[in-house]
Symmetry: C2
Subunit: 166 residues, 2 copies
DNA sequence: TTGTTTTAGTTTAGGTGTCAAGTAATCTAG
DNA sequence: CTAGATTACTTGACACCTAAACTAAAACAA
């Protein structure tokens, strides 16, 4: 097998090509997963090389950027869909970098609010702009109508998943 | 904020609701990412609790299942879109579990072919069936037409991404 | 009030992920 | 034939990630 042809093979390429509808949902999931990973890998490597920031840190910053009053750690964990135990350590490193601050809520000392520093906001603004340009570039073969349709269908899928999860 | 309302907030919910088309691509990516993570988290936790297998191991097994002759490590790495260094350690553990075997290619001793054992095939068949049922359940609010449209649009997106990546 | 339960976050153990540097085998140009 | 590339894979350092067990604070209930 030539090197050139191998590049285009991935997780969803090789499944049985049965015309019956029985496996279409699985095929859909495999494609969803693979295209997401493809984009995520590209974004991650660009964030790393151009801004020396990891994808998870960027993810946290983008949440906090839109909420100047900050978020409780648990809220952050739910929005990012990652475990609470994970947030703890990533937050610590972002604090060490001076990009966010953390304050205990005096009215409920269990809660800790994190928010961005001015430095964090400035750095994130730069990254976000680049990120948006990357995404526009990656999606440039889609028409506005494609994007609207995809958006709507993904919303419908998400609703379906959430309903199934109870 | 009530607990009930918080559950439904996540990465793509809170972005600015500007009606201009300028941020639609980014919004699309955020939704794609969040719905993928939602499904992946559910599948991972079910694989763990019901079969004591991790998502990455399942991912490797599902590739090997369809290729009885096995795959070279590098091919596996490309298909799964993960780094070669990663494959090494996951493969080692799958071997220790007796689910796969590894053979050096005598014609090119740099290459190592991995393939499933009978035990691996049997265990995977069970998991794959459960997995397909989970996915059907998660997607059950989508019509066959929805699924076909999504499939086609994701294919178009993937082509766009691949073209952009060169 | 006081004992129980719930909630917010941390810690630990272990698996997964990248990148970069390293090794061994093969290829290739001269 | 042989020195320098290239290819396949491994290793090590470090970052993420989850689940489960833990601590501390607050809420609740008798």
């Amino acid at each position: 097998m030539s090197e050139q042809s191998r590049i285009w093979i991935d997780a969803e390429t090789k499944i049985t090509d049965a015309p019956e509808d029985h496996h279409e949902e699985l095929r859909l999931w495999l494609r969803l997963f693979s295209v997401t990973r493809l984009i995520e890998n590209d974004v991650r490597s660009k964030l790393q090389s151009q801004f020396d920031v990891t994808f998870p840190r960027f993810d946290i910053l983008s949440q906090l950027y839109r909420v100047p009053d900050g978020l409780i750690l648990g809220e952050l964990s739910q929005r990012l869909m990652v475990s609470p135990g994970n947030i703890t350590s990533v937050i610590k490193r972002l604090m060490e970098d001076g990009l966010i601050v953390r304050t205990q809520n005096p009215d409920d000392r269990r809660e800790n609010i994190v928010q961005m520093t001015a430095e964090g906001r400035a750095k994130f603004a730069e990254m976000a702009e680049a990120n948006e340009a990357w995404i526009r570039d990656l999606t440039k073969d889609l028409t506005p109508a494609d994007i609207r349709s995809l958006q709507a269908l993904l919303q419908k899928l998400k609703t379906s998943v959430r309903r199934a999860l109870g």
